[in-house]
Amino acid sequence: MNAETGIGASALRKEDARFITGKGQYTDDINVFGQTFCVFVRSPHARAKIKSIDTASAMAVAGVIRVFTGDELTADGIGDLPCGWVVTSKDGNPMVAPAHPPIATEFVNYVGEPYAFVVAETLQAARDGAEAVSADFEVLEAVVDTGTATSSAQIHENVANNQAYDWELGDKDATDAAFAQADHVTSLDIVNNRLIPNAIEPRAALGSYDAASQTYTLYTTSQNPHVERVVLALFVQVAPEANLRVISPDVGGGFGSKIFVYAEETAVIWASAKIGRPIKWRADRSESFLSDAHGRDHVTKAELALSSSGEMLGLRVKTIANMGAYLSTFSSSVPTYLYGTLMAGQYKTPAIYVETQAVFTNTAPVDAYRGAGRPEATYVVERLVETAARELGMDPVELRRINFIPTDAFPYQTPVALQYDTGNYAASMAKALELADSDGYMARKAASEAAGKLRGRGYSCYIEACGLAPSQLVLQLGAGVGLFESAEVRVDVSGSVTVMTGSHSHGQGHETTFAQLVSDRLGIPFDSVNVIHGDTGRSDYGLGTYGSRSIAVGGSAIDKALDKIIAKGKKIAAHMFETTDDQVDFADGQFSYAGSNEPKPFAEIAGAAYIPAVYPLDELEPGLSEKAFYDPSNFTYPAGSYVCEVEIDPTTGETDIAKFVAVDDFGNVINPMIVEGQVHGGIAQGIGQALLEHGIYDSSGNLATGSYMDYAMPRADDLPDFQVDMTSTPCTHNPLGVKGCGEAGAIGSPAAVMNAITDALGVKDVSMPATPQTVWQTIQQGT
């Protein structure tokens, strides 16, 4: 193994060369001949009937080419934006999804929903044109509040009580019985605040249609271009699949918000054929706030049943999840299969029952945002556990320890469907306590108090299900797609390698990590491996990047293709050695045979593959290029222990994160530098949720936090340095022993922060985000 670039080395990133020099190619950086510009006309009302739309004045604006309304798309056979996961309610009925035309036709249902768009020669003309579009609306009563949505005005004609589904998981009777015999019950009413993802690159699309070949090319900011293509072709029916190429070039962050198929790229690619010219759109940040799918937004009642000695006996959770106005692409799965299934956490709680009611409101659609369901689940479990420890007068670490699933219990079947393959939760906890200098805490607390500050400490032990996902299992549960991943390894004549992956990197560094994997296994230089992603015209159908799946599923697919490359290489080498392939070994980039003292380097076999002189072509095809599809047999289960210490100024309510320790078990790690970076970013988003971020709609459905002036993004001076370390129990069911690391930080950190704040203040609960105002008011009220 190469110490600088092999598996386990913190190789510096290949992709950085273009990013640090301004040579990245993001969608908005791409310009094509004859391109026009598009601006969307968005609803100013949270809920209204569209009585008429006047486009005549817009058409009169100089430079405006066309103004399109939703009716024109519908008339052209353009279908609804679908939700790809059908969740079944308790009563056996499938979820109820309202119609979701890409461009609104009869009704608008959230502020910012597009109801027309203007295509013009210049962006300025398109903006002027959009200003000139007017509509006659009949304004209707808006439904905004998550908790009361089911008893509010009915938004969609076909959706009674504004309820998409009422889902359950677990054994209700067993759970009720556990509560009946409990010595102690801890209850919490929890609000998981709405977040707005805010990848720094706004969404964008550049669609063009080539009439001569009848082909469509869409450049867009997607985390999963193949899914985008399949949805646009098969469901929305913009173009036949074969005639549609989707390219996601460099993408500036996603965090879930760029998984989904949105109105804007649909409109742009469709309309490019109508006007016969390419059309470009890039969201303004204010549009991103209004129209990117938001995250979280749960209202939950959670109860934990315990024995007097702190043994966790049962967990009961009832959640209302806000879906926004429509069911976005994967929205339905987030508060169900990515949430209820995680309620066992790291504990052997024997009885768990979870109910989730998904409701519609007149707000932007809510879908997966970094962690997607798992941060919400961790928040429920870890706030409950910490609160229970305080109520029982126990050390919260000790209460966790006595309830951890022990290392000899794996594989461990939870009462909520998942089977954890491996883990060592006590090991992560021990390492985290050591890193956090747990023994020095009382002295630090005393020092804070001497300085007039309040100090608190909180823990969070999360688990997540990553590596989405075993296809047949998720298809059974209502998913509309399999969740395998594809890979192709093309060896060049000289022995260099091009890898095509269905995973998509939008910051994760796959061009580096995957190259490390390939160079390590083939024993070839890191620099001779190129990784290609994000283009449906170049790589096989794949599912893209979200749910921390890329290394566990995409990496495993590459590994599987490498197996095939090595197997074929052995066959070729066997002919050269004049032996059989089972006599050939491959290690450190050399094919060798015991009967020969002249091993054949990988590059020599690559050359022989393409210059097929040494082997019989009726037995062996020429060339050295292999594909693989990898379908995982289980989820992966990263887990970790986080410790947060806060120092609060009681005069201002300001919270300072004095210490943040994260110890994660991601199994085997290919590039520790990249993995630590992923953890840092996740923690920043988790601290953002806990202290700063909140997507707020006013009572009439206007987004009150629609810009960086109102929505508090974590900035450099809001955050501390993080102390990050790892433990490892390799995944048992994928060839690399990897688990995935993208979401852990965002999953584990909010509960750690809020446990620390409630500890400092000596109160049961504080709502996120714990802004200085909220904290100060809590101190004044003393509850």
């Binding site: 510096l12 990013f19 301004g22 720094i200 500036g252 530098m673 450099a716």
Partner: protein, 153 residues
């Protein structure tokens, strides 16, 4: 209107609309797409460039205001093949992930270090970069990179 600006060392005469922003002119007229647009309220800092040696958010300046000025963008800070120490430090410290905020972050960081008489500490770097938003890194490695780079600037 016609403006004369020196961009990355080359004098340019550019026709610009009266209301054109410097960021738009850099990207659209001059093809310097390393300067990114991440917001519409001058908050995110992705469009940061240097105007006459100081960092500015190029979305906050009319192109006309830069008339006669000297603009440096991310494309202009390396010395030929030799990267600027801040570029080197960002890569060496894994201070970027998606890369979108990176050009603005690097341009701000260069000015932050260059305009300080004393070596900066971590807290000063965090305060100094408050006008640039990164959603990927949690700033941890960005702070490390800037502290690292200042030794070589």
């Amino acid at each position: 209107m016609k403006i004369n600006i020196t961009v990355n060392g080359a004098e340019q005469a550019v026709d610009v609309a009266d209301n054109a922003l410097l960021s738009d002119v850099l990207r659209d007229a001059l093809g310097l797409t390393g300067t990114h647009i991440g917001c519409d309220t001058s908050q995110c800092g992705a469009c940061t460039v240097h105007l006459d040696g100081r960092s500015v958010k190029s979305c906050t300046i009319l192109a006309g205001q830069a008339d006669g000025g000297e603009v440096t963008t991310i494309e202009g800070i390396a010395n030929g093949e030799e990267l600027h120490p801040m570029q080197v430090a960002f890569r060496a410290n894994h201070a970027l992930q998606c890369g979108f905020c990176t050009p603005g972050m690097i341009m701000s960081a260069i000015d932050l270090v260059a305009s300080s008489d004393e070596p900066l500490n971590a807290e000063q770097v965090r305060e100094g970069l408050e006008g640039n938003i990164c959603r990927c890194t949690g700033y941890h490695n960005i702070v490390k990179a800037v502290l690292d780079a200042q030794a070589n600037m």
